[in-house]
């Protein structure tokens, strides 16, 4: 016999909001004290956004809200009403990876990959705002994202290569980036 759980009382206490997620309007119901990170992962089943320190000290959970990178672990789901949210799931378009995703993969800018969604979205916003950033500007823009594997150099190189390609240049990675210095 299948037991049907009685409607939990907190069902009534759920908040119901509508916002644009990765270009599509979604409606979602969740416990009102949940963070955007929890709503994305638990109520919308989009687990690409990663769950790091939960205190704003790592940048792993970064998503774009109205185009700006913010930390989803410190934003309330409730505050998303009417906003536009982009997560890593929305970065590829029509089955085509974003140039940053391509260069991150090609240049080994991801090792364990846990910080990559946050880095990619933060870098995406940088390149939309500044198509030709210097190394220092990239460093500054990504200074709120921690990576504990690659040591950042490969990430900076990947952002520079993607930026060049997005400007329409036929850029290839320098030989030493792939094969190392002789």
């Amino acid at each position: 016999m299948i037991k049907i759980k009685p409607m939990a009382e907190d069902k009534k206490q759920k908040a119901h909001i509508r916002f644009v997620l990765n270009g599509e309007t979604v409606e979602v119901a969740f416990a009102p004290h949940k963070t955007l990170l929890e709503v994305l992962r638990e109520d919308l089943n989009l687990t690409g956004t990663k769950h790091g320190c939960e205190l704003g000290e790592c940048g792993t959970c970064a998503v774009l809200v109205d185009g700006l990178p913010i930390l989803s672990c410190l934003a309330l789901g409730l505050d998303m009403e009417g906003r536009e949210v982009t997560t890593i799931e929305g970065m590829a378009e029509g089955g085509c990876l974003h140039p940053l995703q391509v260069t991150f993969a090609d240049l080994g800018a991801a090792q364990c990959g846990y910080c990559s969604p946050g880095f990619l979205l933060t870098a995406k916003e940088l390149l939309e705002r500044n198509p030709a950033p210097t190394r220092d500007e990239i460093r500054e823009a990504l200074s709120g994202n921690l990576c504990r594997c690659t040591g950042y150099i490969k990430i900076y190189e990947a952002v520079e290569l993607a930026a060049a390609r997005m400007r329409g240049e036929e850029a290839e990675p320098a030989r030493e980036i792939i094969h190392g210095y002789e």
Partner: protein
């Protein structure tokens, strides 16, 4: 996984509505702007409001008006990123934009507000820990306990003033407007802070910070220097804000030297200011002012780095600030 405790969330559209909501919520209510200070504290159960009232949608608190001639009024709900990029602030009060750029990280500056930075909770290694950690040491007097672990014989809490814009605002002679259902009042930035880690503000919990006023600049120059371990993320463990107003011949007419990050409140070093005012800035005067600041700094062992070193760093940081103003 650390979750927020349950709370009621309210989003007023007008200041009058916000202060009314706070009056209704009573002592269990708190205002929130960017949430980058309050929500981590709530996750660690350091602050546990039952009602949280958001001020982010109060349009009245999102504008900047005025210029260097008239003085400016800054809306406290403006994000730190917008402060960093604002043309009038960069042109007329560049020290505010420079200090804002040193706060935390770009992601947190997109969320955090200038008002939130001014009202940032004081910080301490024995307080900024999760509930179980704090329970393990039987809590501290700032929350749930009755002892100060960094100074066990102290009757008061020594949690540290850790916001970069606080010494800057005190140095600039800013004033803030506080509004509640009982009315409104203007308070100087200097008078806003209290030298106690628990009651660190002379603002009542039901009062809402609605405006930040900077006085006309009148040729005054200002600078802010920050000490921290990493180039991003970290709170200041020493902040030096200095302003200088000089006559044509170089004589110092007015000076302010404020230390942040070394006590529960920003420290105004009037001794150092007295050394500078009425004289020209030479190496000897600057060294004497730096020494006076060193003597006034009283960091304790409750933040990053060794406390003695933090105290010693007051000298070179004040010197650097004055060199830059010279």
């Amino acid at each position: 996984m650390m979750r927020l405790p349950k709370f009621e969330y309210r989003v007023p559209r007008e200041i009058s509505e916000a202060v009314k909501m706070m009056a209704d919520a009573g002592p269990d209510g708190m205002f929130v702007a960017g949430g980058t200070d309050l929500y981590p504290n709530m996750k660690r159960r350091q602050q546990t409001p039952k009602t949280v009232i958001s001020v982010t949608r109060l349009q009245e608190m999102r504008a900047i008006r005025g210029d260097a001639e008239t003085g400016i009024v800054i809306g406290p709900s403006i994000s730190l990123t917008d402060i960093c990029n604002h043309p009038v602030i960069n042109r007329d009060y560049p020290v505010v934009a420079e200090a804002a750029r040193l706060i935390s990280t770009p992601l947190l500056r997109n969320m955090g507000t200038i008002g939130g930075n001014l009202l940032l909770d004081t910080r301490c290694n024995y307080y900024d820990q999760n509930y179980e950690w704090r329970k393990g040491i039987n809590f501290c007097m700032k929350k749930d306990g009755d002892i100060c672990w960094v100074a066990p014989s102290s009757p008061k809490c020594w949690a540290v003033q850790s916001a970069d814009l606080v010494p800057v605002m005190v140095a600039l002679g800013a004033r803030v407007k506080l509004v509640s259902t009982l009315g409104e009042r203007m308070v100087t930035a200097e008078g806003l802070y209290n030298d106690d880690g628990i009651n660190y503000l002379h603002k009542r919990p039901d009062e809402l910070l609605t405006e930040i006023h900077l006085p006309p600049r009148n040729g005054m120059k200002a600078v802010y220097k920050k000490l921290r371990r990493r180039g991003a993320f970290d709170f200041p463990v020493l902040g030096v804000a200095a302003t200088l107003d000089r006559a044509e011949d170089g004589t110092v007419r007015d000076a302010r030297l404020i230390l942040g990050g070394v006590a529960p409140a920003p420290i105004r070093v009037k001794e150092a200011e007295g050394i500078l005012v009425g004289h020209k800035l030479d190496q000897e005067r600057m060294a004497a002012a730096a020494e006076a600041c060193y003597l006034k700094a009283r960091p304790l062992d409750n933040t990053d780095f060794l406390m003695n070193w933090r105290k010693q760093m007051a000298r070179p940081f004040v010197l650097r600030a004055l060199e830059e103003l010279r």
